[in-house]
Amino acid sequence: MDIAFLGSWLGSVPTAAIPLLLASVGLILSERAGVVSLGVEGYLAMGAMAAAAVTLESGSLVLGIAAGVAAGALLALGFGIAVVLLRAEQILAGLATMAIGLGAAGLLGRDYVHRTFEGVTNVDLGSLAQVPLLGQLLFAQDPLAYLAILLTLGGWWLIARSHFGLRLRAVGEDPATADVAGVNVQLHQLFAVTCCGALGGLGGAYLSAVASNVWVENMVAGRGWIALALVIFARWDPLRAILGAFLFGAVEALLPRLQASGFDAPVYLMGMLPYALTIVVLVAASCSRARRNAEPAALGQSYIRQDRR
């Protein structure tokens, strides 16, 4: 393997990594507030479909991507209302949300399947992209990839440094204490869940509008679930999520490249790699003490002030 191969491989990593990263950061926000958003697969599907459909209808990519964000956020808001306000069981409601997202994407997008459109083009920084090895990775990406990194940093700041983040973490750690401190537990959870949907929607929009310039059903292909595992790997820290997402992106980007360069491998068995890697990572993360100390203490519990046992 030569430098050029490595360089172009690395250059293609972000395309695979960004949807995972956006979904993971969204999930981290949601889980830090104590809500497991199991339906993230649905947010991605809605985002991907809405971005493609609106772009095809309006001709505007910006509108399309905005629609993807809005579609993800809307679905998540519905889930949030069900679990936060109406106290539906989080796991089952998450699965139902996933089904609604996948189903609605299929139903609403039935006229847009397989219609290609002009997607987002990569930025052109001229000669910087020619820097060996890292040039393509760092300087020849699409604007959304840079935006995603900024959003991740912003998410990290919000959680770790802002007063809002302090309240959000308190809600996920100990909602009763947060409530006594005057934090509106439900509102914070709803906000976090909706943000998770918006980021998931953006990740989905990235899949259709950047990574493939077309929308097809089932294009999400379990990425939401990989993101769920990534959150555990990242110990609920957005910065570590970048590492995890790029690790997975690297594996995913490697497969087509190996084939293209004539490497003879059983394609479907190779395709198992990201999923198998996810399980390995999950097991490793679950065994570490650090993970147990990082998991929000009240994750998955519904809180009601006047509960008496």
Binding site: L38, L95, G106, L107, L228, P266, L269, M272, I279, S286
Partner: protein, 357 residues
């Protein structure tokens, strides 16, 4: 500051009356179904043909009924699979993976001619159950030994199972005589007998017998008693000396075996070959069936039948109104969500009080 004249407070009901429980459940179900119907009308299905497409054509007309009953067979098994796992609070969301492995197992027995021909069919079904159970063993071990959540692992194993299926169909098992990725058809004596009612096959009796067995197991056996205790409160069950790990393992392996058997019945009963198109959405359908049936094995029969009707109608909707399979998934999602939300009204009440001046 403007004070509201009323204060609201959410209160958990201290007791749950049976009638309110049933009422909210039926209400939630009805709301979900109505919402789904409205959606279909919005998507272009004429109101006047709803009854015909969704009811008469799938439950009344002999041809439709036979088709629905055929679809019911695997749905019963995945519903049982989900209910059995849920009984010990194990989230098996990899039913599709276990089903595919079951189908692969059954096909393998046929392709490699395992065992004497007279026993081939039972061996195929046995293999499907064993393969299904094997596929859930990894998440089970990870959960018991390392406390790894089974949620993500079971699901990811489904994706891996599907890739394995494709690997076989595009490779070693591909029928050279066919342009589609399919295995060769299984032999005539490897098939379940047809009942002379459309494509309905004797797998229906197997499904019914298995349902009875699972019902007996859950309601009447020591295993089921222990499982119910573990599902309700593992801490108390442990303190009572119940073998928690062993019971959990048996129930979870049974869940995998039931999913696998569903795959076996699809191969031996209706498809006669391994294809890429079997088993889709079975995980979620299993969960919906189990939930709507309140995890009671006998209630799974009518629930699976009703959902099979929906799937059957789905193919009509696809042909006539261009609605993809996604619409069936969407309807199931809406019904489940509606039921979950309805439980709120059974478990909580909102206290409203006028604030004294």
């Amino acid at each position: 500051m403007i004070a509201l004249p009323y204060t609201f407070a959410l209160q958990r009901r201290l007791t749950l009356s049976g009638r309110r429980g049933v009422g909210t459940f039926v209400g939630g179900l009805a709301a979900g179904i109505l919402l789904g119907l409205a959606l279909l009308v919005w998507a272009g299905v004429p109101t006047e043909s709803l009854l015909d497409d969704l009811f008469v054509q799938v439950f009344i007309s002999p041809q439709g009924l036979a088709q629905t009953l055929t679809l019911t067979v695997p749905l019963i098994l995945v519903g049982l699979s989900s209910a059995v796992a849920m009984r010990v609070k194990f989230w098996n969301i990899g039913i599709e993976g276990q089903l595919w492995l079951g189908a692969i197992g059954a096909t393998a027995v046929s392709l490699y001619g395992v065992g004497p021909e007279a026993l081939r069919l039972p061996l195929m079904l046995l293999a499907s159950a064993l393969f299904g159970a094997a596929w859930i063993a990894l998440p089970l071990v990870l959960r018991l030994r390392l406390q790894v959540s089974e949620l993500v692992v079971t699901l990811l194993l489904s994706n891996i199972a599907y890739l394995l299926l494709q690997h076989l169909l595009f490779g070693a098992w591909r029928d050279p005589a066919n342009s589609f990725p399919m295995s060769m058809q299984i032999g005539g004596d490897e098939r379940l007998a047809l009942l002379g009612f459309g494509n309905l096959h004797s797998g229906l009796f197997i499904a019914l017998a298995v349902t009875l067995l699972v019902a007996m197991l859950s309601e009447r056996s020591r295993l089921g008693f222990h499982a119910a205790a573990i599902g309700a409160n593992p801490q108390v069950a442990r303190a009572a000396g119940i073998p928690v790990g062993l019971t959990l393992a048996i129930m979870v392996l049974l869940s995998g075996a039931l999913s696998g058997l569903a795959g076996g019945l699809i191969i031996t009963g209706s498809e006669y070959r391994l294809t890429q198109n079997i088993g889709w959405n079975m995980t979620f359908s299993g969960i919906v069936i189990a939930f709507v049936a309140r995890f009671k094995p006998l209630w799974i029969l009518p629930t699976a039948f009703a959902l099979a009707g929906l799937y059957n109608a789905g193919s009509t909707l696809k042909v006539f109104y261009g609605l993809s399979d996604a619409v069936v998934v969407l309807l199931q999602g809406l019904i489940l969500m509606s039921l979950l939300v309805a439980q709120f009204f059974a478990h909580y009440r909102i206290d409203m009080k006028k604030e004294p001046r």
